[in-house]
């Protein structure tokens, strides 16, 4: 949180003056009060996180009918079915590629943009608003806009390439291009959030540190690599964790742009899961897939904490 809030924080004197008006008048121990304060969150968590997690585990051990009712206990059979399904294994590979195509470019571009915004003197407000704009787009609106840019006959991207004597590229209908194109949309869409987080991190760097570096004659490159990069490492780490989780869960852009095609080239994990549950109505195997995804996310996050967090510089 920024330490400087000028939002009329009450000082101790005004608090002392008003404190006779007591709120609920309940006599509860501190633990009882804590329970009451936590209760609304607890109810939602229990109903929509803890219960479904348990239910997923139960579902994954059963066969189900199209209405989701369990019909027979099959033990780990669903997991075996999933793990030997060639489509599933193919979708794992696609998801790995998709993560590689989206996470490093998003963070890299946002880091550059945030650093450039950080060092300019004039026009900062306008620049940061423009860079943050993709945050206002949803996966739905972004997919429609990019889908039109990709359009082979009226799309502007091919018109642009044509000016340089290149193309046309069949962005979404050629198996070799489709995953790249969907990744491009994803990078653009995720850029705003990554930028805002990194810019926020740079804003907390004490002015004196950068000022003294400047007086010592440090160039832009030195400022970037020696000061800014280490000091935003907590934000970079946070983004790495959050974006990998996000990439593993990508769905909307696939659903709207390619529906997993052409020839399964963009059939990522969650799209495959969606087909299994809401097209094939096989909730048992779909639950097994969801739990395997949970395991994957948990494993990767732990790995990142082990491997990356050691290099993070917390102040």
């Amino acid at each position: 949180m920024p330490g400087n809030d000028r939002t009329g924080r009450p000082n101790a004197a005004t608090i002392a003056g008003k404190s006779k008006r007591v709120g609920l008048g309940l006599r509860l121990g501190e633990a009882g009060t804590a329970f009451l304060f936590l209760l609304p969150s607890l109810v939602i968590f229990a109903a929509f996180w803890f219960y479904p997690l348990a239910a997923s585990i139960v579902l994954s051990l059963h066969l189900t009918d199209p209405r989701g009712r369990m019909t027979a206990f099959v033990g780990l059979e669903n997991f075996r079915t999933v793990l030997t399904d060639p489509y599933f294994l193919e979708s794992l590979k696609t998801t790995a590629l998709f993560t590689l195509f989206t996470v490093p470019p998003t963070i890299g571009l946002a880091l550059l943009a945030a650093f450039f915004t950080h060092v300019i003197r004039r026009g900062k407000g306008a620049v940061r608003w423009m860079f943050a704009l993709p945050m206002a787009f949803s996966v739905g609106t972004a997919s429609v806009v990019w889908g039109l840019l990709f359009n082979p006959s009226v799309g502007l991207l091919n018109a642009l390439l044509g000016r340089f004597g290149l193309g046309p590229v069949f962005w979404l209908s050629e198996p070799g291009w489709a995953l790249f194109s969907v990744s491009l949309v994803t990078v653009w869409l995720g850029f705003g959030f990554a930028y805002v987080v990194l810019l926020g991190g740079m804003a907390t760097i004490p002015v004196e540190i950068e000022e003294s570096a400047r007086l010592d004659g440090a160039g832009l490159g030195t400022r970037f690599f020696r000061i800014v990069l280490p000091l935003v490492s907590p934000q970079l780490f946070f983004l790495a964790v959050v974006s990998v989780i996000g990439a593993l869960q990508a769905f909307g852009q696939i659903h709207l742009l390619t529906q997993g095609g052409p020839m399964n080239a963009t059939n990522v994990y969650v799209y495959n899961l969606y087909l299994e549950a809401f097209r094939n109505y096989r909730f048992g195997t779909a639950s097994a897939m969801a739990l395997l995804l949970f395991g994957l996310v948990l494993g990767l996050t732990l790995l990142q904490f082990r491997r990356l967090e050691r290099r993070v510089h917390y102040r």
Binding site: I15, F48, L53, F251, F294
Partner: protein
């Protein structure tokens, strides 16, 4: 900065702004272009004869205003609910002592690791059982509390000097009074961060409204925009005019909340 450095920063900024802004300029420009002009055979960015006719067609063609109303209602309710539940929970985690506090906080954090897809099927089945398909409560209630909000506000509350809360307690104020009159006003930037973030993410939600709603009257804007795309005669300029209309509320929310998002999300990554 030396001149060479200025050149690097300037070109870098221009290139990156080009990448970020190109689709947005394209959206606005094409929404002002007549379909005849767009299909005239030479694709170009800026309209030669700008027109607002597409906006009229977008509003007439799909119940866009109804979708906006739905999304606005859902986003506002979820935002209000999250602010209440998350600030109450964060208060308990920061200012109250109770057995199992640390353990319970970690359980809350661990739910951030559960992919939404794990809960998707059971939650969908819960909705079927409650008969909450195609209802506002189905779109709102599951999102009324979240680990991210609790985490973010806990970070914000930790910045409040303990003495302020102690002083209120010595004066005999109840915890509820201290919460509502001392802690919440002091943590306003944090609350605004969470508010702006929750509003944007709820407004932009896709998968849950897609599987929960079938009735056109209950659909949210994001699903509505997808619907415009798959109509029999897709009129692209009309679709883009619709998108501009749908984007307006989130662009406004972003403009109002950006300051707090930069302050809050950046610091939220710091270790608490």
């Amino acid at each position: 900065m030396t001149n060479a450095e200025r050149l690097v920063v300037g070109t870098g900024l221009l290139a990156l702004l080009g990448f970020v802004l190109f689709p947005i300029v394209f959206t606005v420009a094409t929404s002002l272009m007549s379909p005849e002009e767009m299909l005239s055979g030479h694709p170009h960015l800026l309209p030669e004869q700008p027109t607002l006719a597409n906006y009229a067609r977008a509003l007439a063609g799909a119940p866009l205003l109804r979708f906006i109303e739905n999304s606005f209602l859902v986003s506002a309710a979820v935002t209000a609910g999250q602010l209440v539940t998350a600030s109450l929970a964060a208060y308990a985690f920061v200012f109250l002592r109770f057995p199992g506090r640390t353990a319970f906080f970690f359980i809350v954090l661990a739910t951030m690791m559960i992919p939404w897809e794990v809960t998707l099927i059971p939650n969908y089945l819960t909705m079927v059982r409650l008969d909450w398909l195609d209802t506002y409560q189905g779109l709102i209630v599951p999102f009324l509390a979240g680990a991210f909000g609790i985490f973010l506000l806990r970070q914000a509350f930790l910045q409040i000097p303990m003495e302020v809360v102690e002083a209120a307690k010595i004066d005999g104020a109840s915890h509820f009074w201290t919460f509502a009159r001392v802690v919440v006003p002091m943590a306003r930037p944090g609350l605004l961060t969470l508010g702006a973030y929750t509003f944007l993410t709820t407004w932009n939600m896709y998968l849950w409204p897609l599987i929960l709603t079938n009735d056109e009257a209950m659909r949210t804007v994001q699903i509505g925009v997808g619907m415009l795309m798959f109509q029999e005669f897709t009129e692209w300029n009309t679709v883009l005019a619709g998108i501009v209309i749908v984007l307006l509320p989130s662009v406004i929310a972003l403009a109002l909340g950006l300051r707090f998002l930069i302050g809050g999300l950046g610091a939220g990554a710091l270790k608490g």
